[in-house]
Amino acid sequence: MRKGISRFIREPRTIILIILVMISLAAISTLGIPQGLDLKGGSIIQIQLEKPVDPATMNTITSVLDKRLNIFGVKDVKVRASGNQNVIIEIAGVKPEEVARIVGSPGKFEAKIDNKTVLTGADIVSVQSPIIRGNQWEVPFRISPDGAKRFAEAAEGKAGAPVDMYLDDRLITSPEISPDVAAGKPVTDVAITGAESTRESAELKAKEVETLLKSGSLPVKVKIVGVSSVSAELGGEFTKGAIIAGLIAIIAIIIILIARYRTPVLVLPIFFTTLAELILILGVAAIIRWNIDLAAIAGILAAIGTGVDDQIIITDEVLGEEKVKRRRRMFRIREAFFIIFASAGTLIAAMLPLAYVGFSRGATGIGMLAGFAFTTVLGVLIGVFITRPVYAKFMEYIIG
């Protein structure tokens, strides 16, 4: 037995496992485990475009949305394309209703004289910070010399006529054409003004207009088709619940194993192997910054579940026949690994389509379960290549 232990500890696989577990523990404690939106609280907003677009247009759309959200002070925001007609926005710890409003507007700017468009969003060069006076607001912006010239031509001889400024086809303000401009002098500095009932709403409105002008317009109409948000408080409950569920699941498994094998000498190694798998999965997640969400937790449970199964297979193969010769035992462990690899193969095969959808489309539709597929595959790979072979060596040297 003692000889077996020293051989087991000197086994390269064992040493590698111990090193990897230590690296994982270090990564988890320094980098932390990145949590998904449903655990730390946050929102996912799913947007559908009016029609499918080419990659270049999609790029414009995602960057406009990203810019808008950043201008609006939304931090921790991820905007990504999903296919050629959908965009997914993930935000941490912000109320989704504000985001929904700012994202939902196409941001199409038009200035019209006599119902003829003379300026569009494309003419805007820069936008200054809004000026608030009481409940009055003003957003000054600069237009290109080209646009100014066009504007002056259209305004010539029309002093006092209104310039209707539309944002998303909504009339925002109608300033009068000044005598200067009507005389044909191009002006590049203009402003949109308005009034709200309170100072607070004036500030909000000005910020909205500023954002829309700054970020430019979206080339196509967008529609919010799905919102999913979880408060931080509920997220915390999820985390707590998942940990309790995990602990009770482990206890349930231990009871079954003790009932079957009636010896802690076998149950303890299975417990430690399982623990090592859990640490390695979380370690990888910490290093590659893979968000652990509820679906990912389910995947971890699944991977660990197959891990326990595999260890039962190894145990039964080794204990199957009392006093077998060493060569025969090697053969049996090889057979156990045939079963283990085949089982791992079928599970990974079944998860591949889901992982594919998750990676290509992001967190929309069934892609919400990408975490499930990813952690299952990761856990199974870690299990069959790293932890379960060590368990087999343990069985071979110490129990067998």
């Binding site: 559908q48 199964d309 079928t346 489309r361 539709g365 069934i366």
Partner: protein, 278 residues
């Protein structure tokens, strides 16, 4: 553990077959409920700011949002879950409930998105099953034993779907996750059985089968026990974590079905095959 294998194993193959066919019957006659993810609509978890009963809350939401299709799914103390038939924007909903309740979580899915998700489900499940089958065929390179494994897996899936229909577990992204998991996971015991019977040379078929049964039942037992633990915890402690309780429930049904399909059907077919061969 003493196990004796019955001689009339061919007859026993019928039991899982009957269960599979009746599951299919339940599935086709009752259909599956669809969750908000798939049929579209909105679902919200609320913390109520004042005491009220289900009808009061329902009326408030109906009046403020001017919609008819409102359903208070559950209410425990000041926690409530509300489901609405249409996809209401979260800002509208939060504003409507100001002073009544705080929104803890909110999900709205438009009908287009739901349809898209449904299409993805057919493809993902179809390909998962296909890839699993290919893996099994490559593993054993032997048609009849491979088909027996694939058939057992198909039965497990059908029984799980039948169970979902019977126990009113809605078809959702979460339960589909469980079905995918089941496709890959339920064949573990079948692979164990097939390997032990086809690859081991020592001992009689029945002896090898009994060894496999012992190992397989321990595997299924620990998996079902851990999923039951997960189910109980999520239902009683975090009812909001429907993702987890749905996955657990579907796996419990599927893995229980797997015990029958593996040891009555798959083992029966294999014994038949091996006896016919020798």
């Amino acid at each position: 553990m003493k196990i004796k294998l019955p001689e009339s194993y061919k007859l026993l193959i019928i039991i899982p077959l009957i269960i599979t066919i009746s599951s299919l019957g339940i599935l086709l006659s009752h259909g599956l409920e669809e969750s908000v993810d798939l049929k579209g609509g909105s679902i919200a978890e609320l913390t109520l700011e004042k005491r009220m009963d289900q009808t009061e809350l329902k009326t408030i939401i109906q009046e403020k949002l001017k919609i008819k299709d409102v359903n208070v799914v559950s209410m425990k103390g000041n926690e409530a879950t509300v489901q609405m038939g249409s996809d209401i924007q979260v800002d509208e909903f939060t504003r409507a409930l100001e002073g009544t309740a705080k929104v803890k979580s909110y999900r709205s899915v438009g009908p287009i998105l739901g349809k898209e998700a449904m299409k993805q489900i057919y493809w993902t499940v179809g390909f998962a099953f296909l890839f699993m089958s290919i893996t099994v065929l490559i593993t054993f390179r032997n048609l009849i034993p491979s088909l027996a494994v694939i058939m057992a897996a198909a039965s497990d899936i059908i029984i799980a779907l039948g169970g979902m229909s019977l126990f009113k577990i809605p078809l959702s992204l979460a339960s589909i996750g469980a079905i995918l998991m089941l496709i890959g996971y339920s064949v573990d015991t079948d692979i164990l059985l097939t390997t032990r019977l086809l690859k081991q040379r020592k001992g009689k078929i029945t002896e090898r089968a009994i060894g496999a049964i012992k190992t397989g039942l321990t595997m299924s037992g620990s998996a079902i026990a851990s999923m039951s633990a997960l189910y109980i915890v999520t239902v009683f402690i975090i009812p909001e974590a429907e993702v987890l309780s749905n996955i657990a429930a579907v796996l419990i049904i599927g893995l229980s079905a797997d015990i029958l399909t593996t040891w009555l059907m798959n083992l029966g077919i294999l014994r038949w095959y091996l006896e016919a061969k020798s």
